[in-house]
Symmetry: C2
Subunit: 283 residues, 2 copies
């Protein structure tokens, strides 16, 4: 197995697969040698290459775990070096754009490409933050298209099952809409909140008097800015659509506060609490 990009996501998958003894050798690939040496010393990968073409030589399974903005270029560099019987997958947070990049750059290997997205992660990043259990009981969404080879699809299902994940399939555009709502929008809101508060004059005091709720609420604003910029660019349309709905709802609350409408406010808070308790009552 070759993992291109040994960060939190790629590194955690490498650890899980090694721990499950599901693979003879895990080869990591990245640009930073010190970083890759660290991955070897932490036992995340068996060995590394800095040239993607070398990393995928003879690999049966290729996992591309680079930021969304680097996918097209990486597919382009890999295309002519992929073995005929290899399976390729990715871990990108938006799928339509990755599929488009893969279709354009993978050439005849495109049918061996299975678009994937593990719904797991933390606000931390880098190989030091990786751990084998990251995907355990988490959902991995695969978004195969009509060209996708069924054997490749089964291989990627097996990969994630070894890592302890529950695999589901979904239409790519539906994936992008759902993730825009549950993941991308909350990140936009959290980054913006920290920004707004930082710009207030009393910012030092503002953060001083923030309690646990604020810490939880803004945890995702500590996520990798480059990764999230790429997500905004890759899934912009779906994000803008759900952001518009959200802004309208926020405007409705704002008007209710203005007109001192306690009944309306109570109704929407009570409904939200009920939904949140109903769907996420396990924490």
């Amino acid at each position: 197995m070759a993992i291109i990009g040994v960060g939190l996501i790629g590194g955690s998958l490498a650890r899980a697969i090694r721990q499950a003894q599901a693979c003879d050798e895990v080869i990591g690939c990245g640009r930073n040698v010190a970083h890759l040496e660290k991955a070897v010393s932490l036992g995340v990968i068996d060995r590394f290459e800095t040239d993607p073409a070398e990393a995928v030589r003879g690999a049966d399974m290729i996992v591309v775990a680079v930021p969304l903005g680097a996918m097209a270029d990486m597919f382009n560099r890999l295309a002519s070096h992929i073995s005929a019987d290899a399976t390729i997958t990715d871990v990108g947070s938006a799928k339509a754009c990755v599929i488009s990049d893969a279709r354009k750059h993978l050439g005849s290997c495109f049918s061996a490409f299975v678009p994937g997205h593990p719904i797991a992660g933390t606000e931390k990043n880098g190989v030091e933050a990786s751990f084998a259990e990251l995907y355990k009981d988490h959902c991995v969404i695969l978004t195969p298209v009509k060209e996708t080879d069924q054997t490749a699809l089964q291989n990627v299902r097996a990969l994630w099952t070894y890592a302890g994940a529950e695999v589901v399939e979904m239409d790519p555009l539906h994936h992008d809409e759902v993730l825009a709502a549950t993941s991308h929008l909350p990140h936009m809101l959290a980054y913006t909140l920290v920004g707004t508060l930082a710009r207030l004059d009393e910012s030092r005091e503002v953060f001083r008097y923030a309690a646990g709720g604020f810490r939880d609420f803004t945890r995702i604003a500590s996520s990798d800015p480059v990764m999230w910029r790429d997500i905004c660019l890759a899934n912009g349309q779906a994000i803008l659509e759900v952001l518009k709905k959200y802004t309208n709802d926020l405007e409705g609350l704002s008007r209710a506060i203005e007109r001192h409408d306690g009944e309306y406010i109570l109704k929407i808070f009570a409904q939200a609490k009920q939904r949140r308790d109903q769907f996420l009552n396990k924490d």
Copy 2:
């Protein structure tokens, strides 16, 4: 000590004071007898009264821990029953409105009233969720006014110090602005997010594919809707002001996504991450 309202906040203070042995007797007061009996059986309070006038008879320290919307009425009911040397305080999340209610209804006792707000809590509520350590190393903001008696102020400082809190003083309006930003606004955003997602057609799926980040982000949407309605009504002006700033910033991000401006997006995400890591790097 009389605690009017034995929920998470009042109950946790009662537990802390009993544990510190800082008081001969803690008397709880509320409307629900079963609830108060539970508080006695859990060891939160020594005994209870359902009539506030009875509860405060002979009490040296009176803590009013009812929702903001019930403060005025409670002050009105208590005023003529408060001992001459008693100290009164509250735990309301907005201070200007409570001070106004107290000034209007406490009459000659107003100088013995020390407005207070412990910056602690969880999304849970009720006496079952109370625990003695809730305030340990947390901030309690007192917002005395010109009439406030210095001895009363020292008594309330001592009360919270027994509970393990760090006591600070602040101007009431400044308190209301700071809390609107760090606490009230995040709650508005979280309630609204859950509401927006619940109204999406694919709502069941939306919540199904929500991961840990979403769970953390929306935890505060499980907070008590009545309490938060009251906060919206009591601190509406400060909330609307910071909400306006926030909406402008969100609109700026939205426009950047529209015009595919990766540079702008990266800048604001990176700044937010830096601020969040800088101020809240302990979790």
